[in-house]
Every structure is written in C-alpha cells, then in structure tokens.
C-alpha cells in the first residue's frame, strides 16, 4: 500500500470521510470570469490573515506615551504612543516588516473592492434570487464587517490621520439620537480622546470582527456548495443542472493559480507602492490636523456624505438632532437597508417567487439594473465629494462649487442615470443586440432592382453564451456527470 492509500484508509476507517470527500472532489462549478470575483476576495482574506498574524507579533496596542528613540530620525526625541512607536519599529527596524505591513494594507483595500465588485456581479445578474436570498444577506453583512475591519485596522497605528478619523467616528456615534452620548462614552471609554480606545480597537480588529467574519465566510461558502453555483444560460444549461468543470482537479488548479496571482499583485503593491506612510503624518495630537485628509477608499463615500450634506441640525422637544445624523446614519442606513432587503424588494415588483439558477444579463431586468446603476452613481458622487479638497486644488476650482455641483449630481443624477439605464436595457432586450458589438436600429440595404429599403438589423447571437433564441433548446454538448470520468475504483 502506498503512503497515500494508507493515510486515506486510516482517516476513512475513523471518520468515514472517503465517500463525502469523493463527492466534494467531483463537484461541478460553472466557468465564467465574473465568478472569480468572490474568490479574489477570499484570497485577499488569506493574505490578510497571514500578514496580519505577523503584524500582531510586533504591534503594541497601547496609547501610553514614550520618547521615540528609533531609526526614523525626524521623530527622535518626540513623545509618541507605544502603538505608534511599534508601528514605526515594524516599518523601519523589523526585517520584511514594511512589506508585510504594506501588503496587509493593500490586501485590505483590494479585499473590500473585490467584495463590492462581487456584490455588483451578484446583483446585476440576479444571482440573489430564490433560493439564494440568505446568502445575499450574509454577503452584505460580510461587506460591512470588511469595512469595519478596515476602519479599525487603519486606526491602530495611532498616527495623526487615523486619530482624526477616530475623532469623526466619535462625532458620528454622538449623533445617534437618545443613546449616542452613552454609546460614545462606553465605546471610547470616556470623552474623546480616551486612551482605552486603541486597545479596544485592537480587540475588535484581531478577535471579535475576524471571528464573526470567518464564521460567516464559512457559512457563505457552505451555502454556495449546498445550493450549487448559478450559471449563465447556454447550450445544455438548464434550471435543473449545473454545467462546468469539476472541483478536482480543474477548478482546484485554477483557484490555486488565482490565489498565486492575487498574492503576486498584493505583494508587488506591498513592496513597490507606498501606502499609509504613518511616519509622514506624525503622531496623533488632538489639536493637530493634516490636510488633505482622506480615509481609505471604502470609507470615502461616508466622508463624502458628511461633506455633501448641509448644516441640517434641528431640535425636537429641546433635544438636538445632529447635522451628522442624516448623512452618516440615515443615508447609509437606508442604502444598506435597501441592499440587504433587495431580494424581497424586487419580489414585490416582479411577483417572481420561483427558484432561479440561471442568471440574468443586466438587460433582462431593466428595473433592477436601473436601480443598481442609480445607486452606484450616488455612491460614486459621495466618493468624489470625499476628495473635494483634492479636486479643488487639482482643477483649480473652489471647494464650494465642487460641493454644489456634486449636491445637484447626487439628487438629480440617480434619476437621470437610472432612467437612461432603464431605456437602454429595454431596447437591448427587444433588439437582442450586444451593446459593444452592434448597433440597434434599422439598416439601409440596396435591393436587386437598384432601389433602397430599410430592414431591422439582425440580432447577432453571442458566441457560446446562448442568449440567442434558439440556443436554449440546443442539445447539450456537455457530458453528464456520471460519465465524465471513469468510475472510481
């Protein structure tokens, strides 16, 4: 018996795992580039965990002050917190420390980006429809957790920029009606800036949030395996099957390849592209401020919302509603509420309660696509406004005019963009044309007699994706699963 056979026998006799493992290896996953987005997020998480564990070995979650005597000359002799000092030491004195820190930061940026793009893919193809509503909700929660991980993470170095970020977070918490004052005091350990917050953020960042995040990622993937992946319509693909490559070996090889590529990009960025140079910002002092001050990209829309809103504060019964309440709590609350509940919102309009395993193209559901594009527009406007001071300098325009323009774009834009998207989708749906490969409308033809006539353009069926009318009924080119491989011995 070979070593492998012996170990399989050993495990199987104790756990009876062989037949389950065989079923798992033979699972079929459909192939499409857009199905890799979630995988990229997962692989960023792998990189985040490995680099993050390394960082925890060097980081000191402590706001106590000490005199800096390390390698970075400009700060020598200054009173700085132990947290900031340990970040500097990690960056300048620990061998391979800086690349690990920068790769961790880049991985976080790409992680949230991959989640957002993955969410868009799932949204615009209708992959959230029954029976996948629960996994959609888990996905939205994962996005929020990833954002919270990012925020707590970049606040840890206790540099000037992150301290200002925390100050704003504190103000947002204070803006919660009725209980905000109490929550802020309990969360931050007193009036801002209380020294406890650094240690607490650390616990959130390396224990509480990752525990929930990893648990939900496991659940997310388990539900995916249980329900089997969705697929685009195509030859031989129906609501009752899944056509693709097997987990072993094809998908495993490809996924390992993607893991390698993701890691390559993140390590390359971590080594070559400087990120969050905390030594340039200096230590956090509550009376100092940097300008321009921008958070990481995924918090940018929230900061932009704060800049976009007007001074809308008011009193009820002698109590005060902060001007932060609308942009920092109501708007994101409504946005994430709609995103979370979208499967049920859409069902109210479509009355479609059926199970769907075949994906839509964006045009197939004009209302959904229009809503999504309108939402992305609003997100984009908020994101831009988050850099209004930078654009002001770059474009030599006053911050006031940028803000006023974007205020209009925030209110009017979604309606215009949404309506345009709706009509484009409708027209693509009827014409069956590919938006990038053919034009809709009429073509002018010369007849044999020498006259001219107009005729509708032929709908060009797309190669292989089977959206042409005849395609769905074409016999399958795929081999049924049971015949795909020689039977296992």
């Amino acid at each position: 018996m070979s070593m492998l056979e012996r170990s399989v026998k050993y495990v199987d006799e104790r756990l009876g795992a062989a037949s389950l493992a065989r079923k798992t290896l033979r699972k079929v996953f459909p192939d499409h580039w857009s199905f890799l987005l979630g995988e990229i997020a997962l692989f960023c998480l792998v990189v985040l965990i490995f680099t993050g564990v390394f960082l925890t070995f060097f980081y000191t979650p402590d706001a106590r002050l000490l005199t800096y005597e390390g390698a970075y000359a400009p700060l020598r002799g200054q009173e700085i917190s132990a947290a900031y000092e340990s970040t500097l030491r990690l960056s300048f004195e620990v061998r391979a420390g800086l690349i690990m820190r920068q790769t961790h930061h880049w991985a976080a940026l790409v992680f949230v980006a991959a989640i957002v793009v993955h969410l868009c893919r799932v949204f615009f193809t209708g992959a959230f429809r029954r029976p996948r509503e629960l996994n959609w909700v888990i996905g939205v929660v994962l996005l929020l957790l990833a954002m919270a991980e990012g925020l707590t993470g970049y606040s840890l170095p206790d540099d000037l920029l992150s301290g200002i970020g925390l100050r704003i977070v504190n103000a947002v918490v204070l803006a919660i009606p009725v209980v905000g004052t109490w929550i802020a005091s309990l969360l931050f350990g007193g009036e801002f800036p209380a020294p406890d917050i650094i240690a607490r953020l650390f616990v959130f960042h390396v224990m509480l949030l990752p525990a929930v995040l990893l648990g939900l990622v496991g659940l997310h993937v388990a539900i995916l395996v249980l329900q089997k992946h969705t697929q685009f319509p195509g030859p031989g693909r129906t609501e009752r099957n899944v056509v693709g490559k097997r987990l072993w070996p094809e998908q495993t090889f490809k996924s390992v390849g993607l893991l390698m590529f993701t890691t390559a990009v993140l390590a390359g960025l971590g080594g070559l592209a400087q990120i969050n140079p905390v030594w340039q910002y200096g230590p956090y002092e509550p009376f100092n401020v940097t300008s321009p001050a921008q958070p990481d990209w995924y918090i940018g829309f929230l900061d932009g919302a704060l800049r976009l809103a007007g001074p809308w504060s008011f009193q009820i019964f002698g109590y005060e509603i902060s001007e932060l309440f609308l942009p920092a709590i109501v708007v994101p609350g409504i946005a994430f509420g709609i995103i979370t509940l979208w499967p049920w919102v859409e069902r109210r309009f479509t009355k479609d309660r059926a199970e769907h395993h075949l994906l839509d193209r964006p045009r197939d559901a004009p209302l959904r696509t229009a809503t999504g594009v309108a939402g992305l527009w609003a997100f984009f406007v908020m994101f831009l406004e988050g850099g209004n001071d930078i654009f002001g300098v770059l474009l030599d325009v006053s911050v006031e005019s940028i803000t006023r323009t974007l205020q209009v774009a925030f209110v009017v834009g979604p309606v215009v963009v949404g309506a345009a998207t709706y009509f484009i989708c409708r027209s693509l749906k009827t014409s069956q044309l590919h938006p990038a490969k053919a034009n809709a409308g009429l073509s002018l033809r010369r007849t044999a007699a020498g006259g001219y006539e107009t005729a509708p353009l032929d709908p060009t069926p797309l190669e292989g994706d089977g959206h042409g009318d005849g395609d769905r009924s074409r016999p399958t080119a795929a081999v049924p699963a049971s015949e795909g491989r020689p039977p296992a011995p």
């Binding site: 079929v28 061998r95 391979a96 690349i99 920068q102 100050r167 704003i168 504190n170 103000a171 204070l174 803006a175 209980v179 905000g180 004052t181 005091s185 350990g189 007193g190 009036e191 800036p193 209380a194 406890d196 089997k228 609501e239 099957n241 899944v242 056509v243 693709g244 490559k245 097997r246 090889f253 490809k254 993607l258 893991l259 590529f261 390559a264 390590a267 390359g268 080594g271 070559l272 002092e285 009376f287 300008s291 001050a293 007007g310 001074p311 809308w312 504060s313 002698g318 109590y319 005060e320 902060s322 001007e323 932060l324 395993h357 001071d389 803000t403 399958t476 795929a478 081999v479 795909g484």
Partner: protein, 300 residues
Amino acid sequence: MDDPQRRALAGDGLTAEQRRAERRIAVGLVITTLCGIGLFVVYFGGGQTQLEGVLFAVAFASLGYAVVVWAEKLLDAREVSEDRHELTSGPAGRQAFGDALGEEAGPLLRHPRRSFLVRLLGAAGGALGLALFLPALSLGPAPGRSLFETGWRRGKKVVDENGRPIAFDELPDDGYLTVFPEGEVGRSDSQALLIKVPRGSLQLPADRLAAVPGGTHVAYSKICSHAGCPVGLYRAQTRSLICPCHQSQFDVLNGCKPYFGPAARPLPQLPLSVDAEGNLVAAGDFYEPVGPSFWNRGRS
C-alpha cells in the same frame, strides 16, 4: 487534443501543444525557485522592501502561471453536467421535523398549568439576560457633564503649546495661536484659537464683545462644531476659519458662525480678560458646549 495526427507527431503520446505547455510550466517553476532563492539572499543581506516585493510578486505570479497552464493544457478539462437536487425536504420532511421537535417538549408546553412556568421562564431569562449586560456599563464613565465642560475657568492663564503665558501685547496683527488653559496643555476639549483682529471689526453682542480684551483678542474653540476635527486653517484675508476635514467655514468677525459647509453651529467663544501682569486669562468657560452635536446638548 485527441487529434491522432498531432498525437503521432510526438513519440511519447503527448501532442506538440502539450510539450510546449510542459516547457512553459517548467520555466514558470524555475523562475519561482530562483525568486525563492533570491528572497533568501535579500533577507539575509539585510532586507530591502522593494526587492522583496518584486521577488514575491514574480515568484507567486510565475507559480500561478505554471499552475494555470497546467490546468488549461495538461488536464483533460471537459465540461460536465451535474444535476441539481431539490433543496427542500418537502411537507413530509418538515412534518417529521416538527414531530421530532414537539415529541417531548410539546405536551409539556401545551399543558395549561405549564404555561405559567413558561412565562416565569421568560421572566427569568429576561432578568438574567439584562443583568448579563451590566458589565458592559464598566466600559466607560457615564457621560455626565463631561461634554459640557472644558478645562477653562475664570482666571485660568491662557498658555501656548509650550505652556508659556501670553502677554496681551505680544500677538502681531492678524496673528493667531493655539492656546490651552494653564497646566492643561494638549487637553483636547480645551483647545482654542486666539486670533488678533482689527479693533472695531468684530460683530458681537455687547456682553460677548466685553469678553474680547481690547476689542482685538478673540478666542474660539478649535474643535469643529461639525465632526470634531481641529479647525486648523485660518485665512487672514477673509478672516475665516476652515476645517480641513469637511470644509466648513466660519466667519471669525461674526461670532465664528458657519457660512459654508456642513457645520450647523458657531465655534463657541471663549471669554477672555487681562490680568494684573498683562497676561491673557480666561473669564470663564466657553459660552456653549464645544465640539460636535449630541442629543442633550441644549439641556445644560
């Protein structure tokens, strides 16, 4: 790949394409190996972030390349179809689950005398559940008066970042300075901006103008009334303060009222006077609570 002609080209049962793929995979793996060795050299040579990044990136990328070429060219990657199975257990399955669940607990819960116990159980759970939250109250002090008060008191000396008292006549025209109460340099909620403006330019109510020594030395809280950032930018031409975080702008001459941006309240004014030695001192705490809005701010 099963083309017999192409297969015949190669003696070992591999097509020319597969041979090419093998060579490409080999090159990828060799590059990864070399980069691995390179990383050893760099690390023991003292480490160099950019080199490490390049070597890691090339190593991972060529390994990924090798694996993907392997998957694409050497594996018999046929599309297969797998049936989906009904996810639901069906009405019978759900009924069986309900029966299993209710088998023991059901009769107990349904008995009329038991419902009393169930209510008690709810009360016990509620009381204990809430009590379990009590330790969370230890996380921070009750907010109390902390948001209403700062370190300023009547008679406290105005000092700069180095703790040095500020004489009435030392500030140049349009000069400005971050100041603190004596003995509390760096205290966040007490930071204030002392600005010298031309005499007679301030538009303030008479009682507040009286707290501006000489009609020229006015002080406002440096904490933005919007989100709490230090209002760090002073534009002397327009006599406006600008918060670099969200671009709220405040009119220094007109009680630091916001005139653009998201801030809704003026920066609170700090009443000042001059002591016998000619140094600036506070004439009391800020007129309003400093910093961002909070629920009971108006109920001081």
